[in-house]
Symmetry: C2
Subunit: 448 residues, 2 copies
């Protein structure tokens, strides 16, 4: 815990210490949202110190509310034995997500120090991608054997009431050995005689999902049924856990968030400003440096038409406008395609259908925008031909932009590339090149 052995005379010590004390108070009174904000204000070392000063239960509770990127940073700064104690207490699905983000060496060391049961659980859940039923499920559920009676269940519930109070026990599950054979609405339990075996009152052949089922498919299933959760089984039919509706909605919200951040160039995972400066700079640069190369490539088109530019210098004013407006139109089409893909309203192989829907919008909008820019050019220079050149170029390039914008996400998805990251840069490179070529090519024919 070398971070904690800092010279006590360090300049920042006093306010950071106050922050650590404040967090302990907020966590103790259950004000988790405020505790998270206070934690975010501290340096990574102090964040770890604050978390380590809490009981493992409270620390786990706090860690479940922190942004994942910050939580991973904090665990990295904790001694592995402290991290293991805390992770023992984190809910099973969060735990697996956090451990999966740690460096392999650190993860292995921490798992070794966890209680054997939780460690085994973490190893199992880590094998699932976070957007599968296995990755979404929690392993905290209540199950009974089919030959147990209502009385057995009620006695068990009474005995373990404290533990179960934190579970979602609208349903409990009925198994034959490990195999899921029924679900038992709590309501039905209330309405039955104590000596009835569960087999007689359970809902047999319950709807369940395979551990490998995708988030999209689990979502579709929950859309078609009013369940608050659905049991997860493996290929043998053995019960593994339960996916709650709230977990599915949360995962979808995280996916929307991630798509938004990626589309704006935050690509290496979430950024909060309490993360170390160099990490933030490096992550952003990784995306910016690809973009600057693409930009230079696109702008090189301009260099080919240097003579044209020299004779009609006014064109230099319109090049950035054409570039930016085509990017805007294209990004609208990208956003609609991303959304329709995520809703399942369009399949990656329906590029032609999308193109048809986009080009019709592109003709209308291209014509309108072209007319606007042509008017502006004529008003400024009194040159009808200049107006025609920039207007026609923007009109054509708007059609190109919406066509590519609509189709590119589908093609990228088919090719297995994340469309949220790659669509924007790919689109603007294409539209910039086409736009510059259209303006300057037309000008060299009509204006020089």
């Amino acid at each position: 815990m070398n971070q904690l052995q800092l010279d006590p005379a360090t300049e920042d010590e006093a306010p950071e210490d106050a922050g650590i004390a404040e967090i302990a108070n907020l966590v103790a009174t259950g004000e988790m949202a405020d505790a998270v904000v206070a934690l975010d204000r501290l340096s990574p070392d102090s964040q770890a110190e604050a978390v380590a000063s809490l009981s493992p239960e409270l620390a786990a509770n706090l860690m479940e509310h922190v942004v994942e990127a910050s939580a991973v940073e904090i665990i990295d700064h904790l001694p592995t034995n402290v991290a293991a104690l805390i992770l023992d207490e984190v809910t099973s699905d969060h735990r697996a997500d956090l451990i999966a983000e740690l460096s392999e060496a650190n993860a292995a060391e921490i798992i070794d120090q966890m209680t054997p049961e939780e460690a085994a659980d973490a190893r199992t859940l880590m094998q699932y991608a976070s957007d599968t039923a296995g990755g979404l499920m929690i392993t905290e559920y209540v199950s009974f054997q089919a030959d147990q009676t209502v009385r057995d269940v009620i006695e068990d519930l009474a005995e373990n009431a404290d533990e179960y109070r934190h579970y979602d026990i609208q349903y409990s599950f009925v198994c034959d050995g490990e195999r899921l054979v029924g679900v038992l609405p709590l309501l039905d339990l209330l309405l039955s005689k104590r000596a009835t075996p569960l087999r007689d009152i359970m809902v047999a052949n319950p709807i369940s999902v395979l551990d490998t089922m995708s988030l999209d498919d689990v979502e579709d299933l929950l859309e078609s049924h009013a369940f608050l959760g659905v049991p997860v089984i493996d290929a043998q039919g053995d019960l593994l856990g339960v996916v709650q509706r709230a977990a599915v909605e949360y995962a979808r919200s995280e996916q929307q968030r991630s798509d938004y951040l990626k589309s704006q160039g935050i690509v290496g995972g979430e950024e909060v400003r309490s993360l170390p400066l160099l990490d933030r700079s490096k992550r952003r640069l990784s995306w910016l440096s690809v973009n600057i190369l693409l930009n230079i490539m696109a702008a090189s088109v301009i260099a080919f038409f240097q003579d044209t530019l020299e004779s009609v210098i006014a064109l230099a004013v319109f090049l950035p406008i054409i570039s930016d407006m085509s990017g805007c139109s294209g990004n609208q089409a990208v956003a609609v395609s991303m959304r329709e893909l995520s809703l399942g309203l369009v399949k990656p192989n329906e590029a032609l259908r999308v193109w048809f829907k986009e080009i019709s919008v592109g003709i209308l909008n291209g014509f309108t925008l072209g007319l606007l820019i042509a008017t502006a050019a004529m008003l400024w220079k009194g040159d009808a031909m200049l107006g025609f050149v920039v207007g026609f170029a923007l009109c054509m390039n708007t059609m190109i932009a919406v066509s590519f914008g609509g189709v590119v996400p589908l093609i990228l998805k088919r090719a297995g590339v994340d469309p949220a990251i790659a669509s924007g840069p790919l689109l603007t490179t294409i539209t910039d090149m086409c736009g510059f070529f259209l303006v300057l090519g037309l000008a060299s024919l009509l204006l020089v």
Copy 2:
């Protein structure tokens, strides 16, 4: 129902009819996700026809799965009496959202034809903004009086089992008259003697939220507690409904989605490509036409430096690069601010803190990007001074971009303007103007 009286010989009739039959089959077998896709493939008239051909219960179920913008379009195409029958069956929170999106005249006419109970319910829920507890709650809950006994409750549950099966009844609520006085975990009911009055086993003074509480605050509350739902009360303490955790997660997901779409220029509400062409074109143009004016304004800076450009025509190649790269850097900062605002990690009045965090990244990234573009310029033209001008301009403008990008969402939020819509256009206008001025101003000093 004039849409349904189309000439049966219309060209598209056959495939559209097949689609309508397919939807009825898919809905009947519970394959809602597929039914939604099939519905999306039809024209608005046929969509309405397909929905009208279902029983009100099934139609309501289908409508709950359709994108809101499409659902509103469909209701607009239905005769009001059919729409009223269907809306009677839609869950209370969805119903209020849909009616709120209809034109006022249409909404009034439909509500008049709904059953009085559902109509009153809809009128009440419509008064709440969709991001408040009142707008998020459902009014389908189970409640009892404090002086009723466990036996009373069990008898009521048995009697109404069919109706309650669709409710979330992990908890039922205990009232004194209308006033919420306790919650009753179903589990506790199981463990109590039949003659016990609820007052003796309920959890008294339960945590509840006011109907006016914001989504953010409800979310904070659910983060601090493991509840699957929380009761909603009015200022008098009367029970109004229940907000489920899944509804909060869903609302958050919708907000993320909406921020993403707005940032990409889809601003007038969601767009799916089955919406009418003119609507889609008009909505996109409303945003594009603002952007083209801002673009022309920004590019007018270039016109002031026409002489400089004429003598160093190579600069025309770098103007779009500087404009685009500054936009990229700035948008990264916007995205992080949007995210920190939505997480509550930064308050709208903490602009100085954000600026401090951004400028440090801006110095590092500006220096790196400036060096890259300077190198490219020197390699191309062999002119060190040209390299210095474009490199220094990009470096400075990156710092400007991240500063504005980080701070603009906070300022807009404080001013009550939606930062998801306005941040991008505002940012790129500022960075374009500054970028063009830096490149051309420096060039006029150093290169001419």
